[in-house]
Symmetry: D2
Subunit: 485 residues, 4 copies
């Protein structure tokens, strides 16, 4: 691979699509700052004390305008930052350019190959001979995965001299991961081990990454502390829900210009993301059908007037299909074959294995017509009828539009900043073990509070008497831990 790291005049490394878009990126970053009161308030509150002085932070998270404001909040607090995207289509090239030019080492562009993607991830983790980052901001867990797999391979190699065998898996992407690690072993058989040793912890952004972390915790394989940012209320009940309510129709419109009103839309999964998607589609005038495995979520869908059926029941009648499950093998090529002509198939879950892209790509005689980048029509030979797949099955809101809007990302990213601050502050205290933590409720409430003024809201204050009556402190937290919002 002929990918070359470039350097700014100040010597900072980067690899982006087009540095000339940096001015445009800067203008949009400035607009976003006005919409991200939580992050800006972190700069005001923590900037003067430079709490991240000396901290190296690696981020693997969609390199968008909103992420740019996050990165510059981290640097404003004293951190040194290297960044890659966590999805091959999610980078906004003008954002990447502005950050690369002004603030941090960025390795990301829209439309990476998988090879390029993992090359970027490696670069973001590469801080020089004395180990990797102190902290990781992860989204989906790929940076964390690479380190864990790296350490595992290095230990095996040390013990047995064996190197990973990419052909041992038929997951094309995991083959690349193993190849990277295998090739690295030759030149430096302790790279990931050093990284692990230096690492203070990771804060993880999304449901999928969190699931991986809890699995590692359960297996006892987690190598460093992790803060589950996703399950802050101000993250999962806002970003996942209201973010998708905004960005799903945005992605559909930009990719296809299709009228949503009057259409039959199937939303696979009715978690927070599915709830946001279903709400958006219903409000836009679609008739929405939900598929679910969980009877509780199914009953919630019913209470909102949505029909709950299986994909098989409706596959040949619906116009729009959205996967939101976090699971795999949701819409298979056999489903796709039965769909109406020009049915739209897309995914807004973290990984692209919700839609059987491999089955589609290898279907005998199938024809792919690229309408425009991230919008493909796939025509089946039997019927000469086509379906429209968005963003090659990857996150359609980031692939076909610009992801979630700034305001809701400010909630999520303020949690990220707080989590990173917490990990860094406690790096030597032993407060955090090799386990998964959520932020305490008072910080969650603080994140929310930082976002009220922008929307003109005024909170009511408890009297002492009232606070006592419901047994909470006047200044919060106001709810028991099990409260669901």
């Amino acid at each position: 691979m002929a990918l070359l790291v470039e350097k700014t005049t100040s010597g900072r490394e980067y690899k982006v699509k087009d540095m000339s878009q940096a001015d445009f990126g800067r203008l949009e970053i400035e607009l976003a700052e006005v919409e991200m009161p939580g992050l800006m308030s972190c700069r005001t509150e923590f900037g003067p004390s430079q709490p991240f002085k000396g901290a190296r932070i690696t981020g693997s998270l969609h390199m968008t305008i909103q992420t740019a404001v996050l990165i510059e909040t981290l640097t404003a607090l004293g951190a040194e930052v290297r960044w890659c995207s966590c999805n091959i289509f999610s980078t906004q090239d003008h954002a990447a350019a502005a950050i690369a030019r002004d603030s941090a080492a960025v390795f990301a562009w829209k439309g990476e190959t998988l090879q390029e993607y993992w090359w970027c991830t490696e670069r973001a983790l590469e801080w020089g001979p004395d180990g990797g980052p102190d902290l990781i901001v992860d989204d989906g867990g790929d940076a964390t995965l690479l380190i864990h797999e790296g350490v595992k391979a290095e230990e095996e190699f040390k013990k047995t001299g064996k190197v990973p065998d990419p052909s041992s898996t038929d997951n094309a992407e995991f083959q690349i991961v193993l190849t990277i690690i295998r090739d690295g072993l030759k030149s430096d058989p302790k790279k990931y081990t050093r990284m692990k040793e230096r690492l203070v912890g990771v804060s993880e952004e999304t449901t999928t990454g969190v699931k991986r972390l809890y699995q590692m915790q359960a297996n006892g394989t987690l190598l460093f502390p992790a803060i589950n940012v996703n399950d802050s209320v101000t993250k999962s009940k806002f970003d996942n829900l209201y973010g998708c309510r905004h960005s799903l129709p945005d992605g559909l419109m930009r990719a296809t210009d299709v009228m949503i009103a009057g259409k039959v839309a199937v939303v696979c999964g009715y978690g927070d993301v599915g709830k946001g998607c279903a709400a958006a589609l219903k409000q836009a005038g679609a008739r929405v059908i939900v598929t679910e495995i969980d009877p509780i979520c199914a009953l919630q869908a019913l209470m909102e007037g949505l029909q709950v059926l299986t994909l098989e029941d409706v596959v040949s009648e619906a116009d729009i299909f959205v996967t939101t499950t976090g699971n795999k093998d949701i819409i298979m090529v056999d489903h796709m074959k039965k769909m109406k002509n020009n049915a739209i198939v897309c995914n807004i879950g973290h990984f692209d294995n919700e839609i059987d892209m491999q089955g589609l790509e290898t279907y005998p005689g199938v024809k792919r017509v690229t309408i425009k980048p991230q919008t493909d029509r796939w025509v089946f030979p039997e019927t000469n009828s086509g379906i429209i797949v968005l963003a090659e099955g990857r996150l359609m809101n980031l692939g076909c539009a610009t992801g979630h809007p700034s305001f809701v990302m400010s909630c999520s990213f303020t949690n990220q900043v707080i989590a990173q601050l917490e990990l860094w502050k406690e790096k030597s205290t032993g407060k955090y073990k090799k386990e998964v933590y959520v932020l305490p409720k008072h910080l969650d409430e603080k994140v929310a509070a930082l976002h009220l003024g922008k929307l003109g809201a005024k909170l009511t204050k408890l009297s002492k008497d009232q606070a006592d009556y419901i047994s909470v402190p006047i200044e919060g937290p106001y709810k028991p831990p099990h409260y669901r919002y």
Copy 2:
């Protein structure tokens, strides 16, 4: 007090308004059964084995048609039951009559005085000389409170000979409680202690009662195990939310016939109940303003397009005020004085202290005009302008309408049945300490599953491969404990 217990021909005790309404009650109970698949399914599943054989159950929970189906589910499973309402206005007299005639000892009527209310509660707990009930179904915690206060007084009396002094409190209702206990001490100084000793546990229905239980657990004063039914997802995220979305407008319409569209409505509190109320009002065409102390809930309201202000900001402009906080002193007489003529003031939280009824009743020169039962116009002398208070500040959906509809109560009450079964089954195993428990998630999911068929829903089944991928059993539970739905 001249209240006399009556007896059916079979010798079962009761006190209801009008036994001639039993046939009407029976007809509505039969309709409700069709809408309560969870309860009916419990009868089918557990009826044959009579698991409650020998169990005495006391219930203190709104004596409605839906509760009638709950009671007859308990008796169908072998229990003997005594029942009172947990609100002076919430009894449906035809439901009480049908149950009193056919199934259980009932002491409840619509429009009890507070004296009568506590007399009924005592009756429901009175199972004869060998102690009280084995199990309690509580809603708001009044039966639990009476036992706890009784035991406390009996212990004090045993130690010091002192009896409770009703004049030690200026809460009129608590004075009645203390009077009852004081008077009982004379005839039987061990009544509540015997009750406590016999009691296997309580299952508590609502947020307010649960709050009390956790306070007692924290203080170490809880006398028996408690299951928090309220925080089953299939309770708090359904009954509280969708139940109120249904019954708030129902209560408003039956009480006042007022057009909701075009009006400005203030919802105090944006928890599950407040969310349901706000949704109903917004959908009916009102402009909704929310008051909140919790920044997270406030931000949720904003994301739904609702304005968040303080009561003071809007008190003189709004047309409808609803309290849903579970706290006290929300709408004070000083607020009420500033309201528009014929502004409607009502409460849908458990207790009547959200609205300052005492302040209103004792306001100098105020005039009360009863439009019809549970609908009063209070006229202030200064302005000759009036406000309309529903159900004397008590639960307006039960006072002015018929409470939540059967289907959603089937979810709640199926949790109750399961909780009671669990307590009874484990009565000798020591599984439950004197603490507060929630039901395990698989039972929560089961409750939901029992309600899907009635609504024509079809669940998707996980493959083994998919279940492994997300690390859940194929048959559930599907979510981690912290999941918020």
Copy 3:
């Protein structure tokens, strides 16, 4: 028939259910006045000049609290009034009592037989020997029908001596009409002819009555001028739409307490009434299916996310059926047989022939169980499965609840007052021929304007320049006649 007219102490005739409810009626009338700014403003504007001095007005329109405010507006403007209801179930007895005691001759009670209904209509038209009313306020056109049929019979009788033959029709209700006319002919063969001669005109409230008027206009049989109030924008786009959005769920809840969320509801007809009903059901969480004959209305339903199917497609799957068509034979007994157990069948269109009540009542072996007045369960012998029919197929919002709320009726009834004023003012000018008229747009806009202040709205004013630019007067009217709102 032993119906006897009673008299107040002042000598005014009446026949109501229970005069002791007059005080309750008065209290509710006073509440309604606050919600009916249009009518109250008519009293302020026109009261002093007593424009109806000397006018006799007969009304045939649901004798509700709202109508009471209309009647007392007419009397406040100088009119003498006689009134009957236009539906056997729609009278609110306390409203009738208050008006009978205080303001006008009322002949109406909830639950009239059809015989009684037409007796009441006759009484309302009977102003003594010198003819009938000067003006009619009609709703559905029954008063107008009786006069037209009476005149037709009197002309035939005069020419040929033949009297109407009730057995010539198998419409049970029309048999009653013919009987009344036949019997009247004997005592006074010119009664209706004298009425016609005196009559200045009628103002008609609803779609169904207006349809009849246009048919008579088309046939050349219309005997006096008519103002079509229904098609004022401030009537049909408010009362029909927003009124039903309010009163449909109100009727469902009061009659059945059924949970609407999660249910499948079929709305037959998607005109203004159907739109209001469908919106209410959708917002309450039902899945709504529309049946339509008109492709334009069908396409509107689709754009709102509603499914459009035929009744046959869904008859066995739906839970709630509402007819809103203004047509007949919409839900036949053969449909009802196929419905789910306890499916709810109701009508909110003007006449009761949308639902095949005759087919149901005469179905062999069918069993009727009255749950409570206006709520019947009909059990089919083959399946032992029942359906629930509301208000015996008549207007369910008036039969099972209290009809539309005051505010929206204030819009409708202000149009009525204006129409009556217009007819009376122009009684001798020849402005109105024997044709059907709608009110001019500036009056329609005035009605709206009278209702804005109550809701806190502030209108924007056009500048002269802007008014010229869009070619309208600064003070309106603002839209061309074909504008659809």
Copy 4:
């Protein structure tokens, strides 16, 4: 001006941005065809008989993908077509390229200057020496205006020798029109007169153009028959309402990525367009405030829970401002100065004079920062605070996004095709005078019917008996002319 007409290899004239986008345009046209059943059905029904054989059609209507399908429907029916856009930002360059290459003479590109815009309009009208087009498809009326102004000038010139004086107006755009006409007079003083003589008629697309036509009809200056397509129900109640409900948020998102939820949005005007915009914003979670001059529309807004205030009341609190009035001078620079930093100001009405762009551009010291094309931030010197203006005040849905989606445009454009067919068929019969007509209701219903199948709808059929009962033909039309839908 150095604009040069180009020619395809077949000799057809065009001027577009980039002919290499034709393939991309073709792909999107093919997708759109599937979404435009009304137009495709016209091809099937009328294509074989080639009714437009010999007809020259000039179109002045946004040159989008949807319009491409309209154009190719006209050519499929035998017409020869020349086209320009009716807005400087609304052209989709790939659509223009595909049509220019394959089907018709196109003169349009995104981002024309006003000079270029009118040059394109002239080109579209220029059919060679024997006069102009036979038919015009107009949107906003600019083609019609040019001919009317041209004829007026030619008549004056003939009479008095005077030529138009551009300096007689200070409307910059009208100066250009007069200049074109003046310059044309020199070379050909009868050009527009010949056009007028040849012209059979115009079908006009939008409210603004229709308003102009009715003004000309009222003044007696209309030179040829006009069909008002806008007021077909299947146009104004669909395209204007549901089209804007779709494309307003689309434009906002593409231009600014702003989160709509939680924001305060002001919609100026609550006609069909305003209703669509307000619905979209409310559903996306904004709090919507409406400004209105018309009390009826204001009352409709209130019934939907929207606040109705004046712009002055809210100018400093709102986040998003949308003009939809069809009037001028709605948001003035003095308003803009008072807005919050980064408030978004945009227009979705036909003309750009709703927003005082001239006032803004000439405001002393104002600074314009172009974020990206059609998204400008204007910074006021006093406050250093900026507002964001979309599409330079022109139609933001077409300037910043892709306009209305295909399905709803299929309704509008099927009306256009039918109107054009009607004008052409009756060209010699005298059926249409120099007046403005709307299409008969049965054609309106037909347009709707053509769009039902695509959405899976099934219509109910009237029985003969039912049709007679409501006095309509079984096959429709089903409603009286005044019906408002």
